[in-house]
């Protein structure tokens, strides 16, 4: 049975229940009070991490790293919420987690950190991440990290990975129209940008938390500072959309009358 070195790239995003407001700064757009907003692990990267841990459990001898670029203090906060979920070793980079940070620069920093992992066996490497972040939302970073590392078996929008006993695997990727494309890959090294996958969020396990924190705190302390310059990009502006519609609230129609209105509405061109 194969065993893997699974590196998950994932950072943090503002809690989606927060109100976000863009502001303009000398270095480009940013979020108002960005450092004050409660943060969480980027959801699709979170699915990647849970899938990685599950795969590692099924393949003894495997190991999971989480490579995260974000403001150190925020990374520490988020760590508190995920460290008890699944076992991983943290590799931290201290820099922006902004949606406006250039993905090419972020990818170069992540690839540099991965290349620096002691003992990483690239022949057994599965590079995981979310297929898109909930901040920049471009779905471009992972492909570039893959290119830096020379991995050309890449998959995006992955919902399922099934490993066969010979180390080859089948992958389901989201494609248009609510379908999945099925691919067969010869085996590691490969890159998988995860969508939702199939696993529920793992329950907290304090023992796992203790084990993780032993390596995570030192990793945070030695987090390398990363500067993202956004050279060559000029934002003309970032604005909130016209959110509000003039909602007509219909309270006193019978269900049958509502049904008639709806049918009239949906059948009108």
């Amino acid at each position: 049975m194969p065993s893997y070195h699974i590196v998950v790239c994932g950072s943090l995003v503002p809690d989606p229940l927060q109100t976000l407001e863009p502001i303009s700064t000398p270095t480009g757009p940013a979020l108002k009070n960005e450092m004050m907003l409660p943060a969480m692990l980027d959801p699709w990267a979170g699915h990647a991490l849970f899938e990685a841990a599950n795969l590692a459990k099924q393949h003894p001898g495997s190991k999971v790293w989480l490579v995260a670029l974000g403001p150190k203090a925020k990374l520490q906060q988020v760590l508190m919420t995920i460290a008890q979920k699944v076992p991983f070793e943290l590799v931290a980079l201290d820099g922006p987690a902004s949606g406006f940070a250039e993905s090419a620069e972020v990818a170069a920093a992540l690839a540099g950190a991965i290349n620096g992992i002691t003992g990483l066996d690239k022949t057994r490497l599965l590079l995981f991440g979310g297929w898109e972040s909930a901040s920049r939302g471009t779905g471009t970073t992972m492909q570039m990290v893959g290119e830096h590392l020379g991995i050309v078996d890449q998959f995006q929008g992955v919902d399922q990975l099934t490993v066969r006993s010979d180390g080859s695997f089948d992958i389901l990727e989201r494609v248009e129209g609510g379908k999945h494309q099925v691919s067969a890959c010869a085996g590691a090294p490969a890159l998988l940008g995860w969508a939702t996958g199939n696993l529920p969020e793992p329950a907290n396990n304090p023992q796992v938390g203790m084990l993780n924190m032993r390596t995570a705190m030192p990793a945070l302390q030695r987090a390398k500072p990363i500067k993202v310059t956004n050279d060559g990009v000029a934002f003309a502006g970032v604005s909130l959309p016209r959110q509000r519609r003039d909602t007509r609230i219909v309270k006193d129609l019978t269900p049958d009358a509502v049904a008639r209105e709806i049918v009239e509405w949906i059948t009108r061109d």
Binding site: L17, F235, R245, V258, R260
Partner: protein, 344 residues
């Protein structure tokens, strides 16, 4: 002055998709707006001559292609190699390509190979002060930014429905075949997995998105849950109205946890922050609270209506055009009856 490469994969029959034609329309408009710029077409697929002929009248100065059976499959290694070769052969400074799972997967890596930059999910493309500028959304459709770049080449993936499709005379085009060294193939596409046609609930071309929320599975006024009736009402409606089915996260999560809920619901149906952002002219939300992480997925839905028992639900906060405060079970029962009774 830009050398603009319109870069598209061909469909199984060798022609171009609607979104590819829209991207060509945008590329042509931009070429005209940026003085001294030229347009080159680049095609990738198992067969490309039908596409080249289809756009023979588009005004491209050259038509470049990479064709071969390996390019029939939507696969990173081969697609990236083909796109890289075409970009280089064209000497492209700006590469405009249709968004879609195939190019979204491959072109970001191509930007890296070319030492360029890439923008995905672009919703508008225009010339501002003689320079190309793009518009896209940040933080999962919560804010919209417009930007320009000085780095070249610059790859732009345009979403569907954002530009008028190019239309013009077909003809007989000469394709310059660009040689490509493909890497050893370690991946092969073995097929597509989709629910049987009569169970396919996601219909991207439908006029209406019907969204079901967790309320369909909750205890109702009689103190009981009515999942079986919910299932029957929703499926019945989808069938007669030919609507596409969306869901909230809460509802698909319930399904994933194996509860006796709506069996046809999967994560692919989920709309919102960690789901999809579908495009439909109309949307009807039922038994769904309309919370922000869900409604950001409604960014590209035109007219919006909602049915909720609670007049204080979030749809009332300027998120829907009409909120019906009513029991969705009773309403949808009657909607289905009225639709079934309509002369076909």
């Amino acid at each position: 002055m830009e050398t603009i490469l319109f870069l598209a994969p061909t469909e199984a029959d060798g022609t171009l998709s609607q979104n590819a034609l829209e991207t060509l329309g945008a590329a042509k408009a931009l070429t005209a707006e940026l003085a001294g710029s030229s347009l080159i077409a680049g095609l990738v697929g198992a067969t490309i001559q039908p596409a080249a002929n289809q756009i023979a009248g588009c005004g491209a100065t050259r038509c470049l292609g990479v064709a071969g059976t390996e390019l029939a499959q939507s696969r990173y290694s081969t697609d990236a190699a083909a796109a890289e070769a075409l970009a280089q052969a064209a000497g492209a400074t700006l590469i405009l390509a249709p968004a879609g799972s195939r190019w979204n997967r491959a072109l970001p890596g191509v930007a890296q190979r070319l030492g360029g930059r890439v923008d995905t999910h672009v919703t508008a493309l225009a010339a501002a002060d003689g320079k190309p500028a793009i518009t896209r959304w940040y933080y999962r459709q919560r804010m919209e930014g417009t930007l320009t770049r000085t780095t070249r080449p610059w790859i732009v993936l345009l979403e569907s429905g954002c530009a008028p499709a190019w239309s013009g005379d077909a003809g007989r085009a000469t394709v310059e075949n660009i040689p490509v060294a493909l890497p050893p193939l370690r991946t092969s596409v073995t097929g597509l997995k989709a629910p049987p046609a009569d169970e396919q609930t996601i219909r991207p071309d439908a006029k209406l998105l019907f969204v079901a929320g967790a309320g369909w599975t909750k205890k109702q006024a009689d103190g009981l849950a009515h999942a079986a009736e919910a299932e029957q009402l929703i499926l019945g409606f989808l069938k007669t109205a030919q609507a596409s089915l969306g869901s909230t996260k809460s509802l698909v999560d319930l399904s994933g946890e194996g509860q006796a809920v709506l069996k046809f619901m999967t994560h692919l149906n989920q709309v919102g922050q960690t789901g999809s952002t579908p495009r439909h002219p109309k949307g009807l939300a039922t038994c769904c609270h309309g919370e922000e992480p869900h409604t950001v997925g409604w960014r590209f839905i035109g007219e919006r209506r909602a049915i909720n028992l609670n007049a204080g639900c979030s749809w009332a906060q300027g998120k829907a055009d009409v909120l019906y405060v009513a029991d969705a079970f009773a309403v949808m029962r009657e909607v289905n009856r009225l639709l079934a009774a309509r002369p076909s």
